[in-house]
Subunit: 308 residues, 2 copies
């Protein structure tokens, strides 16, 4: 089985793909106490039928593929992993962006780390409270292909409130203290360029870059696949933040069909599971509403057991 | 791409599989006003790595395959579609069974239509209120392979409270009126033997077989894939039942990773979105809890729009 085979693209777990290609494993999976924690989903694979390959190049950081699928619109793939399809991207983008944005009573300054496809930016700009959005994406090629092939996601790149930096999010944070109301980490999995965005020192930088009442959200992997990693992230963040919560939503084309969101607040008085504001008549959402916000934090018993 | 190819099993949409095999389409998809509504997920496929094929035969009704996977335990496949894996089956079984069971204050007589793998039976028997469980499964071979290869699911088949019938659920219902507190339809998709279980006349039989305060739950497909079918089911059931609600949960190995549950109550006073009872200390659940019950009925905005 190839990644692109007889008109189908197949997303294998990074470690399985190496085995299928007869390569020695170079995949660095996050480990703790010898236990593999994330970035992989061995033994399962998801495929989409390809109508046309639109772009396929290697950037300085990763393999960048965009194809038109037969039933999911255009699809962005980084290092063999599906990042977004036009059909279902709204679920992930709305939840990762609006859980922290609506939990904050007045988010004016927002930082997005990663998010090169523009989907999170589009959602953040729906909030009229926002005065400036700073975005730090390491891979300019992702922004370029999004502008060309994902116009519904990348419309915000021309917005006057945007300050765009191309560079490493980890390095960027070192020079920014007490500056942001909301920080959103929209990263790929902890294999490749996003690896440093899953460690404790990254979250300490995030805390320091937030204002006193600041809130952060991070891509939080899948409860079906990465529960040890999620428990690890929640546990070390409880030493850094007074409030650490975990939410999840369905996303059709992510491995196992669900995605988690790690939400941390710098103030102990901020309950992020309850919206501090509600959608206005001029805001349009396809996934998010105030009830969905609260329900996203209600976790299946096996997840609750693992995190508490 | 074959269904079983180089050590992987791939679940294609029934219509895609026919095309890949060069066959003319014989798949009967439920249609309304010319719109395809359910039973298919064209352009996408899900694969599991196979360790060993344990059983593969054709029954009178369908193709029955059981294989040991490398990472999901044993897997039951009917007509090419994954029905249950040992790793994630608890999500579906617990939600389909306990949403109606806990919404009912005192369920004594329960009917299961389908459910040949035994998972729903196992969950229903966790309720001490239950005096008798009647089960009507059309395909005896499914029960036999479950007993042999899915022992964790099929333990209830030897339970003294069980009355087991092998036959057609639709026909069975015609002879049972005002008899059950809860009826659970655990069927495959509306293609093949389960087709008759998605029509209005089936739901009229269900209503008549329920007692006055009875509740039913049915496998309700995926909001990502079958929203027109779901809207159709909800709409015609609103003519049959005073209360019709729709819930959903994540299930890793179902198409697009989520599964819906159609819950209807015969009494207008019964709010099925709120548990009438709560788990006791002797009941063990891996997915269900009272908060999960309520949250399952909170639907993403695009689903809410489609159903109202």
């Amino acid at each position: 089985m190839d990644k692109l085979h007889k008109g189908w693209f197949t997303e294998f777990s990074p470690d399985d793909l190496e085995k299928l290609n007869g390569e020695e494993s170079s995949t660095k999976l996050l480990k703790s106490d010898g236990q593999e924690m994330g970035g992989a989903w061995p033994g399962q694979a998801f495929s989409l039928q390809v109508k046309k390959v639109l772009f396929h190049e290697k950037s300085k950081f990763q393999d960048v593929l965009v194809f038109e699928s037969t039933t999911y619109g255009n699809v962005l793939v980084l290092d063999g992993i599906i990042q977004a399809t036009e059909r279902d991207e709204f679920s992930y983008q709305e939840m990762l962006a609006h859980l922290p944005m609506f939990a904050h009573p007045d988010p004016k300054r927002v930082l997005i780390i990663g998010g090169g496809d523009g989907g999170i930016l589009r959602e953040v700009l729906k909030h009229e409270t926002v005065e400036k959005v700073t975005m730090c994406e390491i891979d300019e090629m992702v922004i370029d292909v999004a502008k060309k092939f994902l116009p519904g996601m990348s419309s915000g790149f021309s917005h006057p409130k945007l300050d765009l930096f191309c560079g490493d999010g980890f390095e960027f944070l070192k020079n920014h203290k007490d500056e942001f109301d909301v920080i959103i980490t929209d990263s790929s999995d902890p294999v490749g360029p996003a690896e440093s965005l899953f460690g404790q020192s990254y979250y300490e930088l995030l805390r320091d870059a937030l204002k006193e009442d600041g809130i952060l959200s991070s891509q939080g992997e899948s409860v079906w696949l990465h529960l040890p990693l999620i428990a690890h992230l929640v546990a070390f963040n409880r030493k850094i933040f007074p409030r650490v919560d975990y939410a999840q939503s369905i996303v059709s084309t992510y491995p196992s069909g669900s995605m988690g969101y790690l939400i941390c607040a710098k103030s102990a008085n901020r309950d992020v599971t309850q919206p501090a504001r509600h959608p206005t008549d001029t805001q349009t959402f396809r996934f998010y509403n105030s009830e969905v916000h609260k329900a996203a934090f209600i976790l299946p018993q096996f997840v609750k057991n693992a995190l508490n």
